[in-house]
Amino acid sequence: MASALRSVPRKIWQTLSSIKTGVVLIILVVIFSAAGTVILQRSMTDADDLERAYSPSMLRFLDSTGLTDVFHARWFVALLILVCLSIVAASVERFPNAWRFFARPYKGPDESFRKVLPTQARIAIPGNDEERGLSAAERAFKHLGLKTERIVRTDSFSLFSERSRISEMAVYIVHASLLLIFTGFIVDSLYGWRGFLMLTPGTSSNQIEMKNGSLRTIPFSIRCDGTGEETYADGTPKKYWSKLAVVDGGQEISRKEIVVNDPLVYHGLRFYQASYGRTGKLDQLILEATPANNVASAPQQISLAMNQTVALDPDTSVQLVEFIPDFVVEDGRVYARSRDIVNPAVHMIVTSNKANSSANVWLPPMPGIDENASSPYTFDPKDLKTGTYTGLQVSREPGQWVVWAGVVLMGIGLTFVFYVVHMRFWVVPVRNAQGGTLLWIGGTANRNRDAFEMKFKTVVEQIQKELKPEIVAAASVDATTISRITMAGR
């Protein structure tokens, strides 16, 4: 009869807020996440690898169910949202009670409470002096570093002492932090983006290349002033760096040299050093030029950029006209085999103004093609600087601060959940059957019960000490009974 009156929304709420639902949802997340690591995912695998790994019908099935992109599939996102909702529901359902417990401390235990409390003890007060008992207890607590307050009862006082009540809220802090992290994550999934920016030194750009190939324009430009790589003696990369400058509204705002692990951040956009490479184009050729008719004279050091002309003396100049990164000679001509700098060759033209002649100089010499012999200068190549580029990863993650706040909060929450214990002690003067006055001492803790039992024993012993300082503690053992009613569960 009563169940028929339970509305459907109420039933849904009950299911959603139950721990069982939470655990079932966790299990589902685990299963599908695991599936997403075992089944090849489109976001991380090349399309042909997928086609090689699965048969066409299997691949069609996986694609249609979303199993090839589990973590972005709608049903997976829905599952995560369900997890969030269940956390919210479970917390909302239990929070009012917890808050009531937290906000209204139970300071004066009544008789029925005292009867069933598992951790309790009674100490006989010498002289049946209530006040002596209470002040002894107060001194004892003070000695142990616990604060007490006197609670007014109908005809006497009692004592109440507690520590770290916040611990009762700890679990809600942890779950709230989880929700924060989820929120940040969802915000980033919806509003965040990542792209790629490739720059060569001296160029600047405000176009970011996105994963799907489209270009995204950002409201400012990044200029690359230089990029480079350092290696260790054995060739392992040591450092990739780029000197970047931010140009906003035509003005240079800031400069930074970035390396891996240290990005440039401006207006919420982050630029990470992701890759570095050579463009295969010549930047600078450095050579030493010696006059052909005077080999003993000191060589001149000159540097040539592509198509640049440099004067060697008032009469002669040299121009760099061709650079081939990987040359091969075929049929009396020099061709480029590839763009990798494997076998570089340069072609220069040395012009004599007076004689009005020019010579085609090739380095390395190309027999049958070059005219190195008729050049007034011989050249010795010293260094070849080829073009470099820097690859920057660009990302915008508006939700990340929410995520980090959630992480910090979770750290705090977990510390409280595991290591901060809410302890309560009560001391109530009671009458025994013979009319004598005893101190009833009780205590609870919300975790680490075995450690608490030890603490309780210490408290009782300390109160005993304060009550009868002149009598050896051992003699009073028989006047004290520490009883423990074991209860199943908590």
Binding site: V30, S33, V38, F185, T236, V259, R270, V403
Partner: protein, 465 residues
């Protein structure tokens, strides 16, 4: 004093002492060779050898307790563990000083740190929590770790740019501490099951199933005509050989595959016998199963020796490229760990089989172990949380994204969820005792998969890093 039951093999007791003695002699000989070679007393290698000898001594004494049941062995084993830890600390300090960074940058360094953590945790568990027999498990693992280190390239490698960050140290330290705490909770849960009077034959079934799983994983590398595929190793550059970006070159060691199949059958036998004994309600088959375990250990040792010998000497063909290529143990750390782990797990089962009464006497009571398991997980869980958070923050600084759902990250999250499940079940549903212990064991299985399985098994499916 209760002696072991009729299943004890007195002859094997002597064999074990002889084997251990031979092992220590071998190690001391290697130490001597090394001192002669380098002429240098206070070198990292010597500290490590000293640590090795002490850990081996401790391990031998723990196992000696397993054979003889003499309690004082445990006391001396403890002392040896202390000595080993001191030597190990010296090695760590030396390495740190030489490399200029804490020892986290290569597998050699990771093993060094891991072995140190193992010794430290053993002592903490003994002193703080009174779990005295944990050295039976941790010291042999430490010994294997140090031996493994001798087989790996040990040069100080400079850090590549992606690893040049304080977050490396933070993340890796947290990971090691978290995984060590999880490992400890696993050992404690096992001990609880022993004290909770779980039948020995169930341990037989579990150990056998575990070993079957290991050899099944190794057999994923089985090649059609009986070879075993391992990754090629370039001795010049001390690195794996790659066919193309991210794709490793595999060579096939002939006949090793057949050997692994044989051993697979041998490790399957005890499990099959156990199932038969249940189905036919014939306890006599259990005795046969125990003998089968003993035989399977010998065969597993054989497989390990063959694996070592074939891998260290010789060039092998590859299906993906022309010519012959060499390989190295450094290229197959997972297969090596799996083979050694299988032998080790089976030896522990034999320890239980022959010394259960003594173990039960020495271990704390079931209730205490249950609580200590829970406390260990209370330490492991925050560490796991911080490890994932540090990893995410570092990924964000290095690659611009804190969560990419890549297999390692995802499985770390799954591990976290499983332990969260344990805590929920324990705190809110009052799960105690056996159910909690099984959950803790499941948690550790997931940790092992995250640590080993993701790197070893998953790329096998994907064929790229």
């Amino acid at each position: 004093m209760a002696r072991a039951n009729a299943e004890q093999h007195p002859a094997t007791g002597t064999t074990m002492v002889v084997m251990v003695g031979l092992g220590i002699a071998f190690l001391l000989f290697m130490a001597f060779l090394n001192v002669v070679k380098s002429g240098n007393i206070l070198s990292e290698a010597n500290f490590l050898f000293a640590a090795l000898v002490f850990y081996a001594g401790a391990g031998a004494l723990y196992l000696g307790f397993g054979v003889t049941g003499i309690d004082s062995y445990i006391k001396y084993a403890s002392l040896m563990t202390w000595a080993g830890l001191l030597a190990n600390s010296a090695a760590v300090a030396h390495r740190w000083y030489e490399a200029g960074h804490p020892p986290f940058a290569s597998i050699y360094e990771m093993l060094l740190s891991f072995v140190w953590t193992l010794a430290a945790l053993t002592l903490i568990a003994e002193k703080r929590y009174g779990v005295k027999v944990i050295g039976t498990v941790t010291m042999p693992v430490a010994v294997v770790g140090v031996i493994l280190m001798q087989l790996l390239p040990s040069e100080v490698r400079p850090l590549v740019p992606a690893l040049q960050s304080t977050w490396l140290h933070v993340h890796v330290t947290l990971a090691m501490l978290a995984y060590a705490a999880c490992a400890l909770s696993f050992a404690l849960a096992m001990m609880f099951l022993i004290q909770d009077k779980v039948k020995t034959e169930l341990f037989l079934a579990a150990t056998s199933a575990f070993t079957v799983g290991i050899y099944a994983a190794v057999l994923t590398r089985f090649e059609k005509w009986g070879g075993l595929n391992v990754i090629a190793w370039d001795a010049q550059n001390k690195a794996e050989v790659f066919v193309s970006r991210g794709v490793r070159l595999f060579v096939t060691i002939p006949d090793l595959g057949w050997l692994m199949v044989l051993v697979f059958a041998a490790v399957l036998a005890p499990l099959v016998l156990f199932i038969l004994s249940r189905v036919q309600k014939n306890d006599g088959l259990l005795a046969v199963a125990d003998r089968a375990v003993f035989i399977s250990i010998l065969l597993q040792a054989l497989a390990l020796v063959f694996f070592l010998v074939r891998v260290r000497g010789g060039q092998y063909p590859s299906l993906d490229a022309d010519g012959l290529y060499a390989t190295s143990l450094a290229a197959s750390p997972f297969i090596l760990s799996a083979l050694v782990g299988g032998i080790f797990a089976n030896l522990l089962y034999l320890l239980l089989l022959w010394r259960r009464a003594d173990l039960e006497r020495l271990l704390r009571d079931a209730d205490a172990l249950d609580r200590i398991t829970y406390k260990t997980i209370c330490i492991a869980f925050p560490l796991l949380t911080l490890m994932i958070a540090a990893g995410a923050y570092w990924a964000n600084r290095a690659w611009g994204s804190y969560w990419n759902w890549d297999p390692k990250e995802t499985w770390a999250a799954i591990t976290w969820l499983v332990y969260a499940g344990y805590l929920h079940m324990r705190i809110t549903r009052g799960w105690r005792g056996r159910r909690a212990a099984y959950f803790a064991i499941l948690g550790f299985a997931v940790v092992m998969f995250t640590f080993f399985g993701v790197t070893y098994l998953l790329p096998g499916l994907h064929a790229y890093a």
